[in-house]
Symmetry: C2
Subunit: 453 residues, 2 copies
């Protein structure tokens, strides 16, 4: 007899009679002649209740002594369950220990703090919550590839090791060979963004996206920052800012719909943990048009709200040219509109050198997507297509043009328009799983301090 | 009128009358009153011939002076072509220059050497050949995600920055913060494999795979080595070596079928370049069962072939315990069997510490997939599940157990069986696109020496 997955048992339990299962023991308790194992194999967030009986189960004593975490193989009958909220259970006929776990398996209790679980990052996905988050992470990644593939984008792997430090707004990691020697002909660092390279590929393949790891050697240890995280960066030739905002809205809605449909059990579980807040929040996003608002209008709204005493920020000094903080962004999407807001046309001084200068000479064709509960999760822009203008912006912002001459040169060869955005993958997962610490949505988080695992 | 993609024009040219296109000029020539532009927009390897006429095309003079590489927008009629091998062309009614290219656009000629094109890695995908390779790269990546998703695998992002140097068989890159200081509490390096972390996740999620960049600070500058490349590493709990070889065969065949079906035009183009060798080679792979052969039997075959003068290797010293070279591997799959061969059960001395010791005490449950034309492209194994045995192997091979205690500890908590393999993504693309240099199948290759782009 072949083994069947827990997922498939849940799908077909009404038709199933005898099943064979291989997986792990979550809990095990018995009362002498009768015992219960909560059983999982990682294919479903739902555990199956295995019932074993002295009179009916071969190797009954072995079953009794099975410890949490052990791998077992069982054959048994699907029977109706008398327990509430449980449609079926398995009466074990044949029990086989595959590998007994040690006493000290750390996941004995039902509840552990997120802090403690971070110290056992190699085991925490064996809990309900983390297996749900990691399953959603995987499904979201698939949804992203799917969305772009459907829309004729090519996936481009932009380099992790780079020689140009132009975007070094944050702190870069440097890379050397052993013995601390240079490996390349100059100092190499880890990429902070694949955008410049993606732009090169959009000039030729038209629609491309990157999906890869990026790095910041930031020493701040917040809930929202880690040193290694994954980014998604699409780039589209012959595309302007307006078309880009339409793509952003379609993309985000597709991802949320995909997860609600394909990770139903996981989302129901997380929704409960959130006090039934999570699914309504996400449904609010997919059922509403995103608000489009210019930065200038956003400033006016914030000023008005302060002057009318409708809000009080930690920082109430609002003016055109200010780089808005998270509290301002969240006020806009949570209090003013209660839905996602795409801010557009920011002052050039607070944005990157490669963004297209608008005709007003003061703003650039950039956009940020703000979502309730998190704030900014996407930043994008139309790129400056004029060689002289982008060269000027480099010089003004202290970027050495010779370091990225290949990038600037793209403008010489039929670079009409290009636009793209960046989405931090972990920020998205935090939002969709209602997880407050970024370290809990990536398998082995990296941040300033110890590096374990 | 909305623009339409070149791909869609080729699909529907029989039904189309008037079309609007935005894209780039590959070549442009004219004879005073009549001109021809080879036009592309990156959505298809096929270019469209645009015909412009003094009497019929608005902005005729602008069309005449359009340089190679320029971005244009045209509206015109789909008409039958008189040229052989070309079903249709577009008679341009309205011509609009979007962005004239500079004179010095380097891709003027039809043919350039691969060496030269590597010096313009930011532009080479604007040629037929490299756009085909990069399109296939993208489709292969999608096929990989698709295959695993269909088969209930979760994608796991294993860390790029690692603190354990256990697998440092090759040379590792080290990572520091700016000013060459340690960022973590100990020396961090760039991953050489996600396997150890994937194993942790298979214990819990059952079936997982990684797909991410890996690194080797190797100073050798061969056709087959680069410093940064992408690896695919599935890992399956409750899986032994035999089941693993079945997965490998199904996986490789799926990928080849996917590309032959979804990249038909690109494969026809590359097949021509290969002298009509490529597609028959790949069809040979999907239409045959892979050979399974023990290392021991392979040694016997090689010895016999030498003694019977059927072959003469550079290295004819064949014995049990030898780490076979590429010439031996290729002889087996090309000359002896003429199809893919999965070698199994290698002597433990030439394989990694984590591979499961067979009952004979001398071999391990490992396998290598050898394919005609390339040699090894996949290496896999069942992992050692016994804590004491793997500890012993660490000590014997000079690996400090305390450096990977978290990994060894997995064996304490219900680690029954686990198996997985590693596929070098670029090696696969080389094989499927018939490309001899690994630097030509990744957008921005990194290797010892200069780091440009």
């Amino acid at each position: 007899m072949e083994t069947i997955s827990v997922k498939d048992v849940f799908k077909n339990y009404k038709q199933l009679k005898r099943v064979k299962l291989a997986g792990w023991v979550r809990t095990n308790r018995d009362s002498g002649s009768l015992g219960f194992i909560s059983f999982t194999d990682g294919t479903s967030i739902n555990s199956i209740q295995l019932v074993y009986k002295k009179q009916e189960t071969s190797n009954f004593e072995e079953a009794r002594t099975t410890k949490t975490g052990s791998a077992i193989l069982i054959e048994g009958d699907v029977v109706e369950s008398l327990k509430e909220n449980q449609h079926f259970e398995i009466l074990v006929k044949d029990f086989k220990m595959l590998k007994q776990a040690d006493e000290d398996f750390p996941l004995q209790k039902k509840e552990h703090s997120a802090e403690f679980l971070r110290t056992i990052a190699h085991l925490r996905h064996r809990t309900n919550k983390y297996s749900a988050i990691m399953k959603i992470r995987s499904e979201l990644a698939f949804a992203i590839h799917n969305f772009f593939h459907m829309n004729d984008f090519s996936w481009v792997s932009t380099p992790i090791l780079t020689g140009n430090d132009a975007e070094g707004a944050g702190e870069n990691f440097i890379v050397r060979s052993k013995n601390n020697e240079l490996f390349f002909d100059k100092q190499a660092s880890l990429t902070v963004s694949g955008q410049l390279h993606a732009e090169a590929y959009a000039q030729g393949l038209k629609r491309v996206y990157t999906f890869g790891p990026t790095f910041r050697a930031e020493k701040s240890n917040t809930n929202r920052h880690i040193a290694e995280f994954w980014m998604i960066e699409p780039e589209i030739a012959f595309c302007g800012l307006n078309q880009l905002t339409l793509l952003i809205e379609a993309f985000v809605k597709y991802l949320i719909r995909f997860v609600l449909k394909n990770c139903k059990d996981e989302m129901i579980f997380l929704n409960k943990l959130s006090g039934e807040q999570l699914i309504p929040k996400l449904e609010n996003v997919i059922n509403n048009d995103f608000v489009k608002l210019s930065y200038k209008d956003a400033i006016a709204i914030l000023k008005k709200s302060i002057s009318e005493n409708k809000t009080n920020f930690e920082d109430n000094e609002i003016y055109f040219g200010k780089d808005l903080a998270s509290e301002h962004e969240r006020f806009l999407c949570e209090k003013v509109f209660n839905k996602p807001v795409i801010l557009t046309d920011f002052p050039k001084e607070i944005k990157a050198f490669y963004m297209k200068l608008n005709n007003d000479g003061t703003t650039v064709a950039a956009c940020d997507l703000l979502v309730p509960g998190v704030g900014e999760i996407i930043g994008g822009s139309q790129r400056e297509d004029d060689y002289k203008k982008i060269l000027n912006r480099c010089l003004k912002m202290g970027i050495k043009p010779e370091e990225i001459s290949w990038y600037l040169d793209l403008r010489k060869y039929g670079y009409y328009k290009s636009a793209g955005f960046g989405l931090g993958f972990e920020r998205l997962i935090m939002y969709i799983t209602d997880t407050s610490n970024i370290k809990d949505v990536i398998p082995f988080p990296r941040s300033y301090g110890p590096i374990n695992f």
